[in-house]
């Protein structure tokens, strides 16, 4: 269990699009310097959760409940002006599509400078020196040349490095990284994940890492929160979650990815049915229609979260029913 007071503590967060609750009662705590992986499939509400934390929800989506404790404030109650001061300063964000999050009309140098100037008073020479230093720190070759270039002149991996450089310019306490390597090739992904590990070591930045890739989770996370259909169904330390998942969804998700040590050409474990549409959740436990252990009570009401001895929380009525558990996978 983590002893340090959390740097970020989210409780009962809810986001709605019209009447559909796309995030419904999400809560987690992040310790300083910790990497928390928020895992789940498309539409489960991972990205909406991250966007809601900083008041960046798109279009029709609204935060309709919850508190977001950060450095003594409740971000859910702060006015936009104060949030703006926190964004990119104490909490930074990087998104999946690096080219989409950089301004296509500004050079890399100008975007870096803008990020830097927001936090510190630096003159032109100092700005340039610091920008070059940051590009070098994220592993960009020929930083002088890159400063003058526009995003379209850079590869996806380079754009993502620039995003990370900007995100970390202020040495934030928290980095929200939403699928930061999903659009990248695996050899480039390995570089970027390594870079994120280095930066966390060097600055003690805590990271909320949103991903659907169990390999990335295994590589990066201290703790894991598994989301399904707008809710967190299981949280715990990464080893515990992988060694002995206690929610049937977690267990099936882990078993249903091909592994380098499984037997090729044999039938893979599958989860029957498909992911429900965003906000279009079935009654009771939302995993019930796909769950091999579901019983009538599961379909009747949303299961409460239970705290297990190893610090885990699980929202499954049958998490301790070892006799039935063998049927999961």
């Amino acid at each position: 269990m983590t002893a340090a007071a959390p740097i970020l503590e989210v409780r009962d967060l809810a986001v709605a699009i019209g009447t559909r609750r796309v995030v419904d009662g999400v809560g987690f705590a992040l310790a300083p310097g910790e990497v928390l992986a928020l895992v789940g499939e498309s539409g489960c509400g991972k990205s909406m959760t991250a966007l809601a934390l900083l008041g960046l929800l798109p279009g029709a989506a609204r935060r309709v409940g919850g508190t977001i404790g950060f450095e003594g404030d409740d971000l859910a109650r702060l006015p936009e002006s104060r949030l703006r001061a926190i964004r990119g300063n104490r909490i930074s964000v990087i998104f999946q599509d690096p080219s989409g999050s950089l301004d296509p009309l500004m050079t890399v140098g100008d975007q870096l400078a803008e990020g830097l100037r927001a936090h510190r008073d630096l003159d032109r020479t100092a700005l340039r020196a610091r920008s070059l230093e940051m590009l070098a720190a994220v592993g960009i070759a020929e930083p002088e040349r890159r400063l003058a270039q526009y995003p379209f002149e850079l590869s996806g991996g380079m754009c993502q490095r620039v995003m990370i450089a900007i995100a970390l310019a202020a040495q934030p306490a928290v980095l929200l990284a939403d699928e930061p390597t999903t659009a990248l090739d695996v050899t480039i992904q390995a570089q970027i994940l390594d870079l994120m590990k280095d930066l966390r070591r060097a600055h003690g930045t805590a990271i909320v890492l949103i991903t659907h890739d169990m390999g990335v989770v295994a590589d990066m996370a201290d703790r894991v929160a598994v989301m399904y259909a707008g809710r967190i169904v299981e949280t715990g330390r990464v080893d515990a979650i992988f060694a002995d998942p206690r929610h049937p969804y977690t267990r099936l998700l882990l078993r249903s990815v091909p592994r380098l040590d499984d037997t090729p050409k044999t039938p893979m474990t599958v989860i029957s049915g498909s992911v429900p549409g965003q906000g279009d959740w079935p009654p009771g436990c939302r995993f019930a229609p796909r769950c091999p252990l579901a019983e009538d009570a599961c379909r009747a009401e949303i299961p409460a979260s239970a705290d297990l001895a190893d610090g885990r929380r699980v929202a499954c009525r049958r998490h301790a029913d070892d006799a039935a558990w063998g049927r999961v996978a």
């Binding site: 592993g139 090739d185 390999g215 992988f242 380098l260 090729p264 498909s274």
Partner: protein, 330 residues
């Protein structure tokens, strides 16, 4: 394992296939060099075999798959399918020969016409080629739907009513309608949710077994490719750098790029992943418009020597049935 007899005539033989896209400035400008998307690929596939094709974005996997079916025009080389050179056929002859090979693309949403009933979509190839109509067509469509795990009633419904996984089943059913010898699957599960991918992979495995169709399985995901393939080819900048039986490739990758690629896959096992020694390549993937001289991997290769910068390594057979294009591979 269904290791096809090595002596039988290959189903597909590709020789020195090249696809170069001219690079132009402006709409009507003169060509200024070319993107060498596929740059001298030779390979063969046996009947009933699944060949996995892996490599990173832009290395030319899709272009190679598309060139085999002449969806893009090859700039040179031969593509023999069942002994007939597709690269030399035109018109009706090409259309007839193409029946023997079908394509399944990544995006099941783009691949089906939303205004056509499923039965019509799946039956269309049969109708177009004059192979079935009326009651026989309906029976054939029902049979195809059942093969891919859907119900005959689904024939009267429209694509928007189906999830991504179900649609990919439909696309596969349509590809199978003409009983092809070869199905080229280009990233068939990449657009699907993780929990649905396994369903489609299981279906493909089942079809391999029951129909004896050969599959060229294109993916950037090595774990997925490993699960379905008999042999695997690794591409880098338009060329095949290594091709080997699946287990050989993973037990003993010979090309430095294959080694790095395998070692970069994050394993879904925290202990194993963190204990692992990894090769992290430095640098970016070069543009296929300006491939490096010599071995095109030399700009990122941890082993590169002077010779690598000047001399292109050729794909040469090794003793264990693999072929490797590297000056230093043993």
């Amino acid at each position: 394992m269904s290791a096809p007899a090595a002596t039988a005539a290959p189903l597909l033989e590709i020789e020195d296939l090249r696809v170069h896209f001219p690079l132009r400035r402006g709409l009507f400008g003169r060509a200024q060099g070319a993107v060498r998307a596929v740059d001298g690929v030779s390979l063969s596939m046996a009947r009933g075999e699944t060949l996995g094709l892996v490599g990173e974005s832009g290395c030319g996997k899709s272009t190679l798959g598309n060139a085999i079916l002449r969806i893009v025009e090859p700039s040179g080389g031969a593509i023999r399918l069942g002994g007939v050179d597709l690269a030399r056929l035109e018109g009706e002859a090409l259309r007839a020969a193409r029946r023997k090979a079908q394509m399944v693309f990544q995006d099941p949403f783009a691949s089906l016409d939303p205004r056509m009933r499923l039965g019509e979509s799946i039956g269309e190839p049969l109708l177009v080629h004059g192979l079935a109509r009326g009651a026989a067509l309906r029976a054939k469509v029902s049979d195809l739907l059942a093969r891919v795990g859907l119900q005959p009633e689904h024939a009267d419904r429209y694509p928007p009513e189906f999830s991504g996984g179900q649609r990919q089943r439909l696309v596969i059913a349509r590809a199978l309608a003409l009983s092809p010898d070869l199905v080229i699957c280009d990233e068939p599960v990449s657009a699907l949710d993780v929990s649905v991918r396994g369903q489609i992979l299981n279906l493909l495995l089942e079809l391999q077994r029951s129909l004896g169709t050969a599959f060229l399985f294109i993916s950037h995901d090595l774990s997925v490719v490993r699960h379905v393939s008999d042999r695997i080819a690794v591409m880098y900048l338009g060329r095949i750098v290594e091709i080997a039986p699946r287990d050989t490739l993973f037990a003993r990758p010979r090309h430095p790029y294959t080694q790095a690629l395998i070692s970069a896959i994050p394993l879904p096992d925290p202990k194993a992943q963190r204990a692992r020694r990894r090769i992290i390549l430095s640098g970016e993937i070069p543009s296929p418009a300006r491939p490096p001289s010599g071995c095109s991997f030399h700009t990122r290769c941890p082993l590169a020597t002077e010779r690598c910068r000047t001399e292109i390594p050729v794909l040469a057979p090794a003793t264990d049935g693999s072929q490797v294009a590297c000056h230093l591979a043993t």
